[in-house]
Amino acid sequence: MRARLFVSEAFRSLAANLSTSVAAVMTVLIGMFLLGLFIALGSWVISWTDHVKKDLVVNVYFCTELTCGEEVGPKQIDAVRADLASNPDVKEFSFVSKDKALDEMKRRFPELTGQLARNPLPSAYEVIPVDADRVQEVAASLEPAPVGVEKVTYGEKKAERVLQVATIIGAIFLVGSVILLIASTILIANTIRLSIFSRRREIEVMKLVGATNWFVRAPFMLEGIVCGLAGSIVAVVLLLMAKELALPGIMGRIESPDDIQAWSFPVVALILVCVNLLVGAVGSGITMRRFLRI
């Protein structure tokens, strides 16, 4: 019965101090929306870098007249093929013939290839490692270069850079999320503090009339919870709308294979809501104790 009284008192207060309540809800909403956005984007980027890592390939370029003095022979190609087939770090590999290489070149740079009398491009094996982090090991397994192999490249810089970027992005995401979380919490707590402070006369009267501390505190804490809940629910709804409406528009321009995904939506939503309940209740309770010594 007490609980019902507190709840009705809380809603009465919310209605009576509408502008403050709306301010609190808006604060929560903005904070949570940004946080949700950040989490979504951050986890998407991480997934993307994972994907890019998969694209790292090792290229085994065979000799041509120009590079080694003579073309590579079929036996030598076969030797390399056997090598790769028995390498546990190699997931798959495919042969790119000179002709295929030239066709690809013609497609990408027609002006350069128009004048060629002969095909200067080498044939190659494109090797995809099982684990993107072991690209270097795969390349190393072909050292020293077998007969007929001109060079082995693996976009060394690209690999390093991608790994670096991935780490940096991961760090930024983590730090950013923490900062946003702290900022949201502070904002919410501040809004609550302002609302309680502006009603200190009311609280004084309540105490004079003989209300116990919890009798005064409970409705305020409930108010904090309700505002937090309302704000985060609306934020979740907005994020949902953004996901359904805005995302297809943006993503249409970016190639995005299926394996890239942000964290599952319900998980994010749940996190937001729980954070808010906690901040709302605890924030109000602490604020009242500190400011009003009740």
Partner: protein, 255 residues
């Protein structure tokens, strides 16, 4: 409802006796006991200096004195908003010093208080303001629904139950305050300059109300500046100056 019956005893002049004075009940537990109570604020501001007095149940007592003489300090000590630096205070036979923090709300529910600035909750109606005092006690909605209109009618605001404080005159607001203070029929009513913000005519009405409340057996202690009223009513007067009790007279005047 308010002006009927028992003769406006308080409007007698000094020459005639107060016909309906309530003599104290000897032998019963006093309502209030102040025993050499001293209150010092930091730094070294002495608000009350060894104040001693005893107020019996059912008395009507004026606390008079200039600003800063200690009247408000006494009020706050009674409500345990402050604790004395020295001395003992007993309310209803209970030593305030021994009262735990969690029991203070209980104390306050047994003391009705009325202030100069009314101290109403501005976003609630007159009804809701009085009802709050009952809610705090855990009274049921049914009890509230019967008690509140009754007390508001008693103070003359039956028709204005659903008005907010800003829709009421000063005198009416003070009546709401008194209704709230009295709805629980507490044994003690303390008033800190209740007519301070009111014009003389309205003040008379308020005083009549407080007088009637006193007649029901409620002890009333009132701090006031209002010289005229004190002289008219001829009740017990405790006069303070600079924190010291200068005078304590049975049928006192303002002095």
């Amino acid at each position: 409802m308010l002006n009927g019956g028992d003769g406006d005893g308080m409007l007698t002049t000094a020459a005639t006796e107060e016909p309906l004075g309530t003599p104290p009940a000897p032998g019963g537990t006093p309502m209030i006991v102040f025993a050499a109570v001293t209150k010092v604020y930091d730094p070294n501001v002495v608000a009350l200096r060894e104040a001693s007095f005893v107020i019996e149940k059912g008395e009507f007592v004026f606390l008079v004195g200039p600003s800063g003489s200690g009247k408000s300090t006494i009020m706050r000590l009674l409500l345990k908003e402050l604790d004395p630096t020295d001395g003992r205070i007993l309310v209803g036979g209970r030593e305030l010093a021994r009262l735990k923090g969690s029991k203070v709300p209980m104390l306050r529910r047994n003391i009705g208080c009325v202030f100069q600035d009314f101290k109403l909750l501005t976003d609630r109606t007159a009804y809701e303001n009085v009802a709050y005092a009952l809610k705090v006690q855990g009274e049921s909605k049914r009890d509230i629904r019967s008690k509140v209109p009754e007390i508001l009618a008693l103070v003359g605001l039956g028709a204005k139950m659903n008005n907010h404080p800003h829709e009421l005159s000063g005198g009416e607001q003070q009546r709401v305050s008194i209704a709230r203070a009295f709805v629980n029929h507490p044994p003690l009513l303390i008033c800190d300059e209740p007519t301070g913000n009111l014009d003389p005519d309205t003040s008379v009405g308020i005083m009549q109300l407080l007088y009637r409340i006193n007649r029901t057996g409620t002890t009333v202690v009132m701090a006031t500046h209002d010289r005229e009223m004190v002289d008219k009513m001829r009740k017990r007067v405790i006069a303070l100056e600079d924190g010291t009790v200068m005078r304590d007279e049975r049928r006192g005047g303002y002095g």
